[in-house]
């Protein structure tokens, strides 16, 4: 389907880029991106993907907007406090760009639904803040063979990298297993500079758009780390770990259910 006159105007600053053009803008329109977590990272990710004209955006989040979220979760406004995050975010997306189809999942990601939801999208972006979810997303992306943009923020630091399942280093290549409960602080416990979410989320959105367009060098096999206090970006080289329990040469996790079991054992410990 050709772009309407209005769409040509809306996306003109993309289309004028020789690396994008009308052809690239069509790829953007045909793409489906799943954003997990409609929070600090998910806010800029969803807004920039919507503005870019991504055809289908999926949003997963079971929570309601809380007053403490507004310091960094810019897709939600003061009047949204108490409302489901996916609803609040979907409204802003539609308001920004009615071309976008938004699919909302007001639920937790779990063993039952992960692969089913992933199947409906070409790309996955991790905007969650807890480790069981990050491991589950990494593992589900591997089994579903979906490119994944991982991101994390804490205090004044942030990091991200791209995972092409089976081809480039995955999250478990670096962190084979979940950290024991209580060893690693959460944003809730340790705090986070709000603007950092905007920066890392925007970088994640940029990386997924590059993958969709097939341009430039993907952020694979390297972690981009940002240290706000020193205003310093660093690149840390990583590589596929042959001992990775997921994508290594003799993996111990051969089905998503096994990964989930580990994650659930962890959670039951946590709630104990």
């Amino acid at each position: 389907m050709a772009f309407t006159e209005e769409q040509l105007v809306r996306y003109s600053r993309h289309i004028i880029l020789s690396e994008v053009g009308g052809k690239g803008q069509k790829k953007i329109r045909q793409a489906g991106v799943l954003v997990i977590g409609a929070g600090g990272l998910g806010s800029p990710i969803a807004l920039y993907l919507a503005a870019a004209g991504i055809g289908k955006i999926g949003l997963i989040d079971a929570d309601n907007v809380d007053l403490t979220n507004l310091q960094r979760q810019i897709i939600h406004h003061t009047t949204d406090v108490g409302r489901p995050k996916v609803l609040s975010a979907a409204e802003k997306i539609k308001d920004l760009n009615p071309d976008v189809e938004v699919i909302t999942y007001q639920k937790h990601l779990d063993a039952e639904n992960a692969l089913k939801i992933f199947a409906d999208f070409g790309y996955v972006i991790d905007g969650t803040d807890n480790f069981p979810a990050k491991f589950l997303i990494n593992d589900a992306a591997f089994f579903a063979k979906k490119p994944l943009i991982h991101g994390g923020i804490l205090r004044f630091d942030g990091q991200l990298f791209t995972i092409l399942p089976g081809e480039s280093a995955c999250y478990r290549c670096i962190f084979p297993e979940l950290p024991p409960q209580g060893v690693v602080p959460s944003c809730q416990e340790a705090g986070v500079l709000g603007a950092l979410a905007g920066l890392i989320g925007t970088l994640q959105a940029t990386e997924v758009i590059k993958l969709i367009l097939g341009i430039g060098n993907p952020l694979t096999n390297r972690i981009l780390a940002y240290h706000a206090l020193e205003t310093l970006f660093r690149e840390i080289k990583i590589k596929k770990n042959p001992h990775c329990p997921l994508c290594g040469s003799s993996p111990s996790i051969t089905k998503l259910e096994m990964a989930i079991q580990e994650v659930c054992d962890f959670n039951s410990l946590e709630s104990a």
Partner: protein, 71 residues
Amino acid sequence: MFVKINGKKEEIRAGTLGALLKSKDIEPQMVSVELNNQIIARPDLADTPLKEGDAIELLFFMGGGANTHVC
């Protein structure tokens, strides 16, 4: 001796990665350690010797945006 830790030159006394983590009060379980671009498995940290000029990366777990629970 001098090594590079997360890109910064530092003088250290520790002779092994395990001793280095201990001197910095870092629990081995909260970090993934790269020595000269090679991830060192956690059980091997204590016995991995360090030498002048080594490049060490301490990769920390980092959370993020939304508290989306699983299970």
